[in-house]
């Protein structure tokens, strides 16, 4: 499938855990401003792709590039790669690798513009919803220690802006009433939405949603569809979503990438995927399976 303006380029991504190949030369592109879905049977490697993308796993080989307004970011590089023999001859490469090995890591990815949610909802449970959203804004808030300790105006203004932005997101998600409640006291659907709001507070160029519809009833899933579209339309964010709920996938995605046993078996628009033989056999099994 031809991608005009890729925000994400994954090429030959391979991940090995011990003797198991979780991902085998996975490659695809994500169109900027699209809603792209990553689907596949359980164990296909979808979350592994996410984890490589967002910096929680280190790829064994392959490349991931993020194309932002600020330039092209080499995701694998900023996570810190192991040293290569050629580094000892090439001091620039050595220093760059050392720098990322010591100071790089998954947090740089969020700063580059990729945000994510988690399959098991990782909110800050003993903190309120507002606090969750405020923490997410740390990159844009006033972090100057002196101005905070002395409660200078610059600090107070920055805090107020952050609070307002947090409230705006609570309104979008319909969670205003939950603002000062503990995150772990909120109902399940609210927690899912809060996690998405938190990820959006980092102003990402690309947001990765890991099974956001899990555990939602049909009405909530419809609301989620509308929400995802809104994220893309109003906030200029590309949405990359792992999902099992096929109705949701077919409803909102423009591109679908299908994974099975760590390999890409299809990469097309939803209608074509629906009819793709390889996809059908991956999910349903061919007639020849014992």
């Amino acid at each position: 499938m031809f991608i005009k303006n890729p925000i994400l380029e994954i090429k030959d991504l391979t991940v090995r855990f011990g003797g198991i190949k979780a991902l085998d030369k996975v490659g695809f592109k994500v169109e900027k401003g699209s809603i792209t879905a990553l689907i596949g049977p359980n164990g296909a490697g979808k979350t592994t792709v996410f984890n490589c993308l967002t910096g929680f796993y280190k790829a064994t080989s392959g490349s991931i590039f993020l194309n932002t307004d600020d330039g092209r970011v080499d995701i694998v590089k900023i996570l810190g790669e192991p040293f290569r023999l050629s580094d000892f001859i090439n001091p620039v490469a050595f220093i760059s690798r050392l720098r990322y090995k010591m100071f790089g890591g998954s947090y740089l990815i969020a700063r580059a513009g990729i945000a994510r949610t988690f399959q098991n909802i990782r909110l800050f449970h003993e903190m309120t919803a507002m606090e969750n959203l405020l923490v997410a804004q740390h990159m844009s808030i006033n972090r100057n220690l002196v101005s905070g300790l002395l409660k200078l105006n610059s600090f107070k203004e920055a805090e107020e802006r952050a609070i307002n932005k947090a409230y705006d997101w609570l309104d979008i998600m319909g969670l205003r009433a939950d603002a000062n409640r503990f995150a772990n006291e909120l109902p399940y659907g609210h927690r899912r939405r809060l996690e998405i709001a938190r990820a959006m507070c980092t102003d990402p160029a690309l947001i990765c949603l890991d099974e956001p519809a899990a555990g939602l009833n049909p009405r909530e899933t419809d609301e989620l569809s509308m929400l995802v579209r809104r994220l893309r339309d109003e906030f200029n964010t590309t949405v990359f979503i792992i999902e099992h709920d096929m109705t949701l996938v077919m409803d909102i995605s423009e591109h679908v990438v299908v994974l099975n046993y760590g390999q890409v078996i299809a990469n097309n628009d939803p209608e074509s995927i629906r009819r793709d033989k390889a996809v059908l056999s991956a999910y349903l099994g061919t007639g020849n399976d014992d």
């Binding site: 910096g55 947090y107 945000a115 990782r122 903190m127 606090e131 923490v135 972090r143 409660k151």
Partner: protein, 415 residues
Amino acid sequence: MTVSSRPPLVLILKDSLIAGAISLVIFGPICGIILDGYTFNTDFKIPLILTSIVTAGRFFFSFFGLPKLPDLSRIHPLANRKPTVPDKIFLGIVFAVFLIFPFVGSKYWLTVMILALIYVLLGLGLNIVVGLAGLLDLGFVAFYAVGAYGYALGYQYLGLGFWGSLPFSALIAATFGAILGFPVLRMHGDYLAIVTLGFGEIIRIVLNNWLEFTGGPNGVGAPLPTLFGLEFSRRAKQGGTPFHEYFNIGYSSTYKYIFIYLALLFFVVVIITAVSRLKKMPLGRAWEALREDEVACRSLGLNHVATKLSAFSMGAMIGGIGGVFFAAYQGFVNPSSFTFFESALILAVVVLGGLGSTVGVVTAAVILTILPEALRDFAGFRVLIFGILMVLMMIWRPKGLIKVKRPVFLQKGKG
């Protein structure tokens, strides 16, 4: 406990008897057969008493159910609420009492309060690391020692007085905090605890054995603090004028304690203010977020390395300041003051006070220092009681005696 949910009497009796039998095995040899060189004396009173207590207690609690620990946050005036006017008056009174105390209290209690305030400081420092950032540091005593030795050795080798040593030791302690934090970045929970414990022990052993530099087990003398060059000793040792001579009053050793106390109080207030401000700043929120879920933090772009190191450094710095005061108060430092038990004690202060709660830590530090003094007769049992308290606290109130309340954020101008 309702009658219907209580297990049958026979079962309770059987349980209690088994508990009793186990107690006999546990208490019998160790408490009953007391070694005396290569022979022994017997005293079966103690194990029998203990066994009876356990048996009776087991029966009682099985029969009547466990008591409910009261929620102290309802009683404690300063917990939980945004300070209202009556609260502020209460705080003012407390502060005034603290302020006037050195002038009216006995010298003995003055020294006790100095120690209490030092532990408040140490508790605040460890609270940042354990309570806010969730990093279980069992070697906090190392920073305390660095501060104390920094003061004593700073005077010996660099001629630094009290006021010069405070920033110096604080900085060195902060550096040690960062140095300690770096290797443990990837560790969690129990491993982190053991490694920090190891560091604490390494520092203590080095201090004990490096005779040429640290004076070994005999330690190093520490100078008395000065105020604008005025010394608090009977005769000037640091080249200044003795305090009492300058003001033409009789010498009293109490003056130096009053001075230390007031300087300490000043620092305690400053640090309490700083910490409560930090908690409402991005850095403080980052610490607490780190404690809650490090993976989520990283996914939000929080530099977990910098966050952890800042927690360690800040906690260490405060610990170092506490060390300086301790050295000034005691007049000398030696390694025996900086054992693992001290780390455990400071941890007890933080745990009992409520991880993350400033009010709790202050209260716990004061109580845990004053209580042993008030119960002098039980001095030998101090460690035992601490240990039991720690276990009970974890079983009944793992989050501390006083529940930490989260700050409320309202939007200005809107509903």
